[in-house]
Symmetry: C2
Subunit: 138 residues, 2 copies
């Protein structure tokens, strides 16, 4: 079955001291530094109501990932078992969309400073969504 293709248009970029993938912790609570999310000024109206202290989901496009990966070695798994990529958070996947839950610690016009973002410097941002409830994500 052939599907229509769609175009993702980044709305901003991550500014971080993480310079490459080897430095990036796999999840933000493992010691990622704070980062700035710098949005293009044309999206300023969309950023209204995002407030310091709130948690949001950041969707990124992991532009340095490989897209032809369907099976991966999960980290923290010493076995030689490969896993299907959709049961992992591998950056390498057919559509390398990163999903990051972060806390907004500062709002400065079209820039947000966030805590514990594991994305590397220059990563394109494609969406921001509110966290909907205390127990998880829909």
């Amino acid at each position: 079955m052939r599907h229509e293709l769609f175009v993702v248009k980044p709305i901003g970029r991550v500014e971080s001291t993480l310079a490459d993938r080897s430095q990036a912790p796999k999840q933000g609570d493992e010691g990622a530094p704070d980062a700035w999310l710098s949005f293009d000024p044309e999206y300023l109206d969309g950023l209204r109501d995002l407030q310091q202290g709130s948690e949001v989901l950041i969707l990124t496009w992991l532009d340095r990932a490989g897209r032809d990966v369907l099976r991966v070695h999960p980290r923290d798994d010493d076995s030689r078992a490969m896993r299907g990529v959709f049961s992992t958070r591998s950056a390498d996947r057919p559509n390398p969309i990163g999903l990051h839950r972060v806390e907004i610690v500062e709002v400065d016009a079209n820039r947000l400073r966030v805590r514990n973002l594991e994305a590397i410097d220059g990563t394109p941002i494609v969406d921001v969504k509110p966290v909907l409830d205390r127990i998880g994500e829909r």
Copy 2:
């Protein structure tokens, strides 16, 4: 600042009795029916290890959404206040990526039946990710 554009290649489609947006509940726990996720056979290796009873995040491309929306009227808000789209879950947004937390209730080769998916029939699927912890999403 100009960004590089990226191409999203759908990996499958939603099969649901929800035929259009007017029927779709805004969040899955408001009474969406079960749905089938039908993946292209070429992604079968990536689906390994997804199991009945587990919860996953489904990322979709909301192909019937408008992309030039930056301010929206949130539902359940009788005031006339508009909100910045990135503090809402509106389908209409610059990159209309849907994020749905669902439970897998059946696995049949390249098809997954899931509970409480609010996406309408034919919606392209772009990614599947595991839920990482009990308290939420990163």
